[in-house]
Amino acid sequence: MTAMQQGLQSCEGCGLLSRPAPGAEERRCPRCGEELHFRKPDALQRTLAFLIAAAICYLPANLLPVMTTITASGEDSDTIMQGVVLLWSPTGWPLSLIVLFASIMIPSAKILALLYLVITVRRGAIENNRQRIRLYRIVDIIGRWSMVDVFVDTFTVALIQLQPLMSVKPAPGLFFFAAVVVLTMLAVESFDPRLIWDPASDSSRQPQMDTDGHRGEI
């Protein structure tokens, strides 16, 4: 039994449960004025679109250099992976691992995780609901940390401007990398986790494995 089945809409802003006025195209929360939906509009489609865009940007982000160091000995462009290799030393390996996780593994993991969620929801899967919602939460929490790389890069560019000796310029890969992070965050935002539970409540006739108190069949 869900709020939608009862014809109720919950406000995404303040959480107020309200009964939508019949016939009205656009409904607003009586308390906070937030636009009301039963479910986020076109959630799966939007998420998928953002994911595809992120996946496309992910390739140039890793293949193109993110930073160009200009020293007296000439220009030197490095990709993220080259940076990881460069940092890998007996003393620098933790830093190297951080960059590897934050910049290469997390974005790809996010894209794959959301893709998995979108596909399972689309197929109306009802298994592993709790695991899937946990996955969604993890993706939501860790996703923003990938932006650290972009910030570090921009700070470096701003600070290291010792003109005749050394200067640092952002390289095109950085913009693609920033795009990957932003697009995956947008994808997470446009995904509606309630969709995970909808198939379970639709098939209410069947006995539920999930006997969690406030969700599922009453």
């Binding site: 509009p41 076109d42 489609q45 939007r46 679109a49 953002f50 595809i52 865009a53 992120a54 496309i56 940007c57 390739l59 140039p60 193109l64 007296a72 000995s73 000439g74 030197d76 095109p172 693609f176 795009a179 697009l183 947008l186 446009s190």
Partner: protein, 533 residues
């Protein structure tokens, strides 16, 4: 009508499924376009990949070392690998886009490292930036992707205006790659390379003469070593010749075309020239009509070198070509036969009515016979007192005993005259003999006597001087005492003061007495009688 309708089932209201595309699909679209654009750019900016084989990759770094042409980066070395025999290094380089036309089959690559040679300092920038690859674009129409790097940067860049020539020299001297070539003290070119001739007798030096100097190289141009300071200490004296300060330090070559020769068009490229050992050698005219003669000396020929001039009245007419010693078993005597080559025409002596034609030899004999009968003799003379070098002088001695030339010998032996040296030796001996006659002993004895007397006189004088000294000492003492007595605060001074006071008092008493007596003359008789009223 409507009432008559049967109880129709109510239409099921179905929420219309949204099928329209969400606007968010613009994101993947934009991303795809951006990605495609970047990919296309990347592919378009991809230049050809080439391999360059090196002996060693020292100083080169994959991903860092650039390939530069005229100071512009047009490629980067991306990777190294060893050849299968592990002897060489193959570098893979990524070239800039649209550099295909640079990669001719004869395009050259070399490693630019800092190089400081005598004449030039190059590649200083590589001290900071590290080595890079220099490149010279070839002319071949064929294209290639595999190259072998040169060991050293080419001395002359292809396409530089000028011409290559070849020099043949028996010895290299201080010539090396990069050695400058001077034309009228201007740097006109460089030595490009040198190699030993096939039979090992000569060295072939390849040189490059820059435009516009190459037009001054004509077929009769002379090249010579202008290495350092050419100091010649010969019979002609000390001669110092240099080309320039640079050539003193690192050596060099020079060329010049004799002004006297005919004006010829510039020489073809790759013309071969002879490299002479010095300027004088280079400009010595070729033999015209050399005659070889033998002269035998019975004196020391120390200082007579091969090449020493043969002079007639101070003008060179030939040179000594051979000096050796011979021992005659029969007479048990050493003699020194000297071979000379006389060629007056070569040294610029103008011969008037020179014999020519078929009877040239006969004429030559008659001429020489005539000269000898007039007293032509050869003798050794000292050219330079400093070096002791000798030269052969041909002089006329009309008083000399007559000699006939033996024309059956070849070369003909010319008569000699005891040289200047013998004459000098004789006079020196004479001087020595005269010196020996001087009675040094008597002179010495007289001198000794005089000195002894002088010595005695001096001793006497010294006694007198001692007495005078004593006298002066006493006088000094007297003066000292007087000084003490007269000094202020001395006893005498004090006593003198008190004495003067006493005398003053006495004088006053006398005056009082005198006054009293004047007023009372009777007092003389009566004595002082109380107070006068």
């Amino acid at each position: 009508m409507t009432d008559a309708l049967p109880d129709a089932p109510e239409a099921k209201t179905v929420t219309k499924k949204r099928t329209r595309l969400s606007f968010v699909w613009i994101f993947p679209l934009v991303a795809a376009i951006a990605g495609a654009w970047v990919a296309v750019n990347k592919i378009r900016s991809e230049g050809p990949r080439i391999t360059i084989t090196f002996l060693t990759a020292e100083g080169l770094e994959a991903g860092k070392t650039k390939i530069r042409y005229n100071g512009v980066d047009i490629g980067t070395i991306t990777a190294f690998r060893l050849t299968e025999d592990h002897q060489r290094v193959i570098a893979t380089a990524k070239m800039a886009p649209r550099t295909e036309e640079f990669l001719a089959k004869d395009t050259k690559f070399w490693v630019v490292r800092p190089q400081i040679s005598g004449a030039t300092v190059t590649g200083l920038s590589t001290l900071i930036s590290g080595a890079y690859l220099g490149m010279e674009i070839g002319q071949s129409p064929e294209r290639a992707r595999e190259f072998v790097a040169l060991e050293m940067a080419p001395v002359v860049m292809g396409g530089a205006p000028g011409r290559f020539f070849r020099l043949k020299t028996p010895e290299l001297g201080s010539v090396d790659k990069d050695t400058p070539i001077f034309f009228r003290h201007l740097k006109a070119g460089t030595v490009v390379s040198y190699e030993l001739d096939k039979d090992g007798q000569f060295l072939n030096v390849r040189i490059f003469v820059r435009a516009p100097y190459d037009q001054y190289v004509t077929p009769n141009t002379r090249f010579w070593h202008a290495s350092g300071i050419d100091m010649t200490l010969s019979a002609s004296g000390l001669r110092v010749q240099t080309e320039s300060l640079l050539s003193i330090l690192i050596g060099g070559l020079a060329f010049e075309t004799p002004a006297s020769g005919p004006l010829l068009p510039p020489a073809e490229a790759d013309t071969q020239f002879t490299l002479y050992s010095d300027r004088a050698d280079a400009f010595r005219p070729p033999p015209q009509n050399p005659q070889t003669y033998l002269i035998v000396f019975n004196q020391s020929v120390r200082g007579l070198a091969v090449g020493a001039p043969v002079e007639m009245r101070g003008i060179p007419i030939g040179e000594v070509t051979d000096v050796r010693a011979q021992f005659d078993q029969k007479t048990k005597e050493f003699s020194v036969p000297v071979t000379i080559q006389v060629d007056p025409a070569r040294f610029g002596v103008k011969v008037i009515d020179m014999p020519g034609g078929t009877n040239a030899v006969a004429d030559h004999r008659t001429l020489l016979d005539a000269l000898v009968s007039r007293g032509l003799r050869l003798q050794l003379k000292t050219g330079s007192m400093i070096s002791g070098s000798l030269y052969v002088s041909a002089e006329f001695f009309p008083d000399a005993p007559p000699v006939t030339l033996d024309w059956s010998q070849n070369p003909v032996r010319l008569p000699t005259q005891p040289g200047q040296i013998e004459a000098i030796e004789a006079s020196v001996a004479n001087v020595v003999k005269k010196l020996e006659q001087i009675q040094f002993k008597e002179i010495g004895d007289d001198l000794q006597k005089t000195v002894n007397e002088l010595n005695q006189t001096l001793v006497t004088t010294r006694g007198t001087l001692t007495n005078t000294d004593k006298l002066l000492g006493s006088a000094d003492k007297v003066m000292g005492s007087a000084d003490r007595i007269l000094a202020p605060n001395s006893v005498l001074d004090a006593q003198l003061g008190s004495m003067l006071q006493e005398m003053g008092g006495a004088a006053r008493a006398m005056r009082v007495l005198a006054d009293y007596l004047e007023r009372h003359p009777e007092a003389l008789i009566r004595g002082k009688t109380g107070e006068a009223k």
